[in-house]
Symmetry: C2
Subunit: 176 residues, 2 copies
């Protein structure tokens, strides 16, 4: 994996893909599937995400203040759904789903080798956790896998139905 | 347009489409293009969105506490980009872009007739406005246009590059 400029992180998150969030608490590494997230700032890249307190990852995220957001391409869809359908207190999700944890540089939560991009994040604001389960993250290191050429992502429409990235439309625009 | 059950609203927002946000302040109705939003709650449907204080819509949204989120299909992509590239203090965006304002039921901000779905929203929390430009919205009335069969949305990857919804993958899942 190669370093990705932090200025480009929003281009991965703004389209709204389903992502994987890893944490590393006292019980070891865990992964959860996440679709409720948005960009808040281009640089430094800031992301808001919704992690419920019934999610097993909640305690580790809250305690360590660190996580990694991995972005899976469509070929990982079955694993993404499997991860979303089981609870990390009972199983090692990396082993169960054949994913490879890879040490990051800035946080203890692992990167996921099979994801085409990984974002190392620190929690910078917990004020909205109590009322809305919202953590504000800052991305402090980003990685891209140049060997993965197919980067079509999946977007959840509910009940296991996903729309896959299709064709590209490019229009003249002053918007970043 | 027909009523859409509020329980289904998340299925439109969770996939991360570019949306149009309308407001109606003292200067009349306005439209902005928005990509930074996420679901916060299934029912009542709650949405967080980022509207910067340099956006012309900011003042009207803040003052009235009301807006409509319209969801455009890909055939509206050029209008969506045009709206994102001009400032509402100078022009009537409905007239300029040939869009039709339609009165809503619960809020003064107009629906956009050409969007296949419209969500009438109230601002319920402004605590994160000052630091992050984040408004928390609750959807109080939702509409769907049954005559629009093509509902492929667009997702912004930066600088006018959009990925269009492609094929559907459905996998067995216990996730809502």
């Amino acid at each position: 994996m190669r370093t990705l400029a932090l200025s480009k992180v929003y281009q991965l998150i703004e389209p709204g893909p389903v992502v994987l969030l890893t944490t590393k608490g006292d019980d070891g590494p865990n992964i959860m599937t996440m679709s409720w997230h948005m960009m808040l700032e281009f640089e430094p890249p800031r992301i808001a995400c919704c992690v419920g307190d019934t999610d097993f990852s909640f305690a580790a995220l809250d305690a360590t203040g660190e996580c990694v957001i991995g972005i899976p391409a469509v070929h990982l869809a079955r694993k993404v759904v499997g991860i979303g359908n089981c609870h990390g207190n009972r199983i090692d999700k990396f082993a169960t789903f054949g994913l490879t944890p890879k040490p990051g540089k800035m946080v203890k939560a692992p990167l996921i080798l099979e994801c085409f991009a990984n974002l190392e994040c620190k929690v910078i604001d917990r004020r909205m956790v109590r009322d809305y389960d919202v953590f504000i993250l800052e991305v402090i290191q980003a990685w891209i896998d140049p060997t993965q050429k197919s980067r079509k992502t999946i977007h959840h429409q509910g009940y296991g139905k996903f729309v896959v990235d299709g064709r590209i439309v490019t229009l003249p625009s002053k918007m970043r």
